[in-house]
Symmetry: C4
C-alpha cells in the first residue's frame, strides 16, 4: 500500500488548528485532507484528545468510506466526508466542528442572513442551514446520509460548492470545506465569527436589513472576482 | 488507618482541571473521587485556592460524611457528595461548579431543552433542574438534604443516574458525576457548553423545536448503544 | 514623613491583580490600601499602564485627599476613596473598575437582583445601584461627591458596609471594598460574575423569581454566620 | 526615494497590537501611520498573516493612494486611509478592524448611544454610524468613496474629527484614528468595549436613558478639558 505521509501530516496539522482557534471542546471536531488522484483522504481518529494526537494516528479512507491505512477507528463522521469528496472533486479539505455560535444557528434551524461585508467578503448568499434529515435517512446509514443531505440541499438551492464553502446541518452543526484543508479550517473560523456577529446584529436591531446588492457584489468581487485586489 | 494516596492524588488532579477548563472562579467548585470498596471518598478542602492545592490537602470522608483522614475541613458541599455515593454505587467521581451558563439555567429554574446533537451525544433527555428545596430541608442538614433533593428528583422523573450524569439544583448550580472523576469533569465542561448553546438557540429562534426522536436515538446510540462506534 | 512601603507594596500587588482577573482594559481601574492608624492610603497613579507599574509609583494620600508622598498624580478617583476611608473605618482596601457586566448594570440603573446562591454566598440583598448624582454634585467636587453619593445611598437603604461590600454608581461603574485590599479585589471579580449570571438568568427566564428567604439566610450564614463552616 | 523606516516600524508595531488586543481574526484589520511632512503613510500589506509580518513588508503610499515604496500590494482599504489623511491633517494614525461588537453595531446601522461614563471619558456624542453608501459610490472607486462617506457624514452631523475619533461605516465595520497610531489602536479597543457594554445595557434595561448632560461634560473635561486632571 502506498505512502500517504503527506496527507496524514497535513490532516494532523490542520486538526491541531481547531483547538488553537477555539473551535472545539475536547474531541468535538475533525479535519480531513484528500488526495483525489489516489482517491483517498486522511482523517482524525475518533475520540482521541488533541493533546495526544500524532500524524501517524491519522486514518486513510477511500471515497466509499473503506479504511485503506491506519490502526485506529476513523472519526464517526467519516462517511459524510467520503460522500462530499466523491461528488465534489475540487475540494481538498473538509472540517466539521460543534463551534458554539454556528452550532446554535444549526439548532435554531435558520439560515444565517447576510448582514455585512465580513460575510460578503466570503460568500454572496445567506449561509445555508439544511433541514434535519428524514427519519428513514437517520435510521439508515446516518453519516453517509448526512453527506447526501448536504449535496441535495445545495442542488435544491442551486448553490455552487466552490462559491459557498460552508453549511449548517439542522439540529447538528457546521461543515466547511475548501480547495485545501487550510482554507476549510479558515472557513470554520470565519463562519463562527459571522454566526456570532449575526446574532448580535439581530439583538441590537431586530429590523436590521440584509446587505444591499451593490455591496454584496463589490465585496465578493474584490476578493474573488476576475479583478480581485485583496491579498498578494 | 489505610493509605488513600490513590484517590487523594486523583482528587487533586481532577480538581486542578476545573480552573483549566474555565469552570470555576476562585474556589467555587470541587471534585471528589470515591473508593467504594473502602466506603470513602477524597474531596477538596474548603476554600483553599487552586494555586495552593496539594494532593496531601485532600480530605478523606466516609459515605456518612465523617472525616476519615485529613487535617483540613472538607468542602462545604461534602455531605451532598456523601449522599450520592451512598445511594449510587456505580459512580466514581462527582463534580460541583458554579460555571456561568449552567448556573444561570439553575437560577432560572428551567430544564435545559434538548436542542441538538451535541446534547444528544451525551444524554437523551432534557437536562433536569431540580426545584429549590423546601424550607424545612434548607433549615435542616442543608448539604445532606441537597443530596436527597437530587435523588428524589431522579426518582420522580424516572431518570437513570447512569444515563443522565448531570443535574441543575434550582437557584444553586450544577452537579455532575460519572464512573470516574475524569468523566465527571468532562460532563461539567460538556454541560457548560450545552447550556450556552441552548440559550443562544432560543435567542436566535424563540420557536426552535426540540430535537426529533430519531436523531436523539441515533446520536446517543452511536456513542453509548450496544453497537457504539464513537471513540476507540 | 514615615515609611509607607508596606501599603505601597500591597497597593501595587493588588492593582496588578485587576488585569490578571480580566477586570480592566488599559488603565480603567484602581486599587487603594489604607493604613487607618496613620490616616493615609496608597493608590495607583493616574493613567499609568499596568505593564509599567512599580511599587514606588504608588501615591500616598490622606483621608482629606491631600498627597502625603509620591511624585505622580494619584488616580482621578482618589477623592472617592478618601471619603469612604474617612467614614468607614473598618475597610482596608477599595477597588474601582469598569468591568464589562457590572458596568452595564450600572449604566442600566438597576440593582442586581438576588437570583441564586452564588450571590447569597456573598451578600443577602440585591447589589445596590446608586442613582446618577444631582447636577450640582457633578459640577462641584465631583469625585468627592461620588463618595458621598455612596455613603448617602447606604444610609437611605439602611445597608451595612461591612455586610454589603459593593455598589454600582449609576451610569458610571462599580466600587467594591473589604477589610483588606485582597478581599476588595476578590469582591470585584465576584461582582462581575454575579452581574453576568443575573443577565443570563433574565434572558433564560424573564420571570425568574428572586431567591427564597430560607436559601438567602442559609448560604450567607454558612460563610459568614457565627457557626460558619466554609473555608479553613 | 527617502527613508521611511520610522513610519514602517511604527506601522508594524501598531498592526501587531490588533491580534494582541483581540480585535482581529486572521487578517481582518489594518493600521497605518502617516508622515504629513512627507505626504505619505505606511500601511499593512493586504492579506498577510500577522504571524509572518515584518516591518519591511509595510507599504508606503501617498495621500492620493499611489505606492511610493514597497514590494507588496497594500491593504485593500488603503484609499480610505488616503482620503482621511488628505483631509484631516492632524491625524497621525488610522485603524480599521472587524472587531465583533463594533461590527455588529455597524451591521445594525445604529449609532451607539452614550450610556455611561466609560463612553463619556472618550467622546461626548453617540458613536456615529454612517449609512451604507449609495450604489453609484459602491460601483465606483469604492474604497476612496468610503473615505468620502466618512468625511461627509462628519460634515452633515457637524462632528469634529479631533473630538470624535471613531466611526462605524454602516453594514461594514469601524474605523478609528488619532494624533498617533497608538491612540488610534487604543480607540479601537475602547470602541469595542463601549459597543459591548451598550448592547448589554439595552438587554438589562430596554428603557435605559442616555447619560445626563452634566455627567457627559464632567467626564470628558476631566480627561480632555483645559483643567484636565486625568493621567500624568
Amino acid at each position: 500500500m502506498a505512502n500517504f505521509q503527506d496527507i496524514k501530516q497535513a490532516a494532523y496539522e490542520n486538526n491541531m488548528q481547531l483547538p488553537k482557534l477555539g473551535l472545539v471542546l475536547f474531541t468535538f471536531g475533525n479535519v480531513s485532507v484528500a488526495d483525489h488522484a489516489k482517491g483517498v483522504f486522511a482523517i482524525k481518529p475518533s475520540g482521541v484528545p488533541y493533546d495526544n494526537l500524532h500524524p501517524d494516528h491519522m486514518v486513510v479512507v477511500d471515497f466509499e468510506g473503506n479504511i485503506v491505512e491506519g490502526d485506529l477507528r476513523p472519526s464517526s463522521d467519516t462517511k459524510t466526508h467520503a460522500v462530499l469528496y466523491k461528488h465534489w472533486e475540487n475540494i481538498g479539505g473538509i472540517v466539521h466542528t460543534h463551534s458554539t455560535y454556528a452550532t446554535a444557528w444549526a439548532q435554531s434551524q435558520r439560515d444565517i442572513p447576510l448582514y455585512g461585508t465580513t460575510h460578503a467578503d466570503h460568500l454572496t448568499s445567506d449561509i445555508p442551514c439544511a433541514p434535519p434529515m428524514a427519519d428513514d435517512m437517520i435510521k439508515g446509514n446516518y453519516e453517509q446520509e448526512t453527506g447526501f443531505q448536504i449535496l441535495n440541499y445545495f442542488k435544491e438551492k442551486a448553490l455552487d460548492y466552490q462559491e459557498v464553502e460552508m453549511i449548517l446541518v439542522g439540529n447538528h452543526a457546521p461543515f466547511t470545506w475548501g480547495k485545501t484543508a487550510e482554507k476549510a479550517v479558515y472557513n470554520s473560523a470565519v463562519l463562527e465569527t459571522i454566526a456570532h456577529m449575526a446574532l448580535l446584529t439581530e439583538q441590537i436591531n431586530p429590523n436590521a436589513p440584509r446587505l444591499k446588492d451593490a455591496l454584496i457584489k463589490k465585496h465578493f468581487e474584490r476578493k474573488h472576482g476576475p479583478d480581485a485586489y485583496y491579498g498578494q
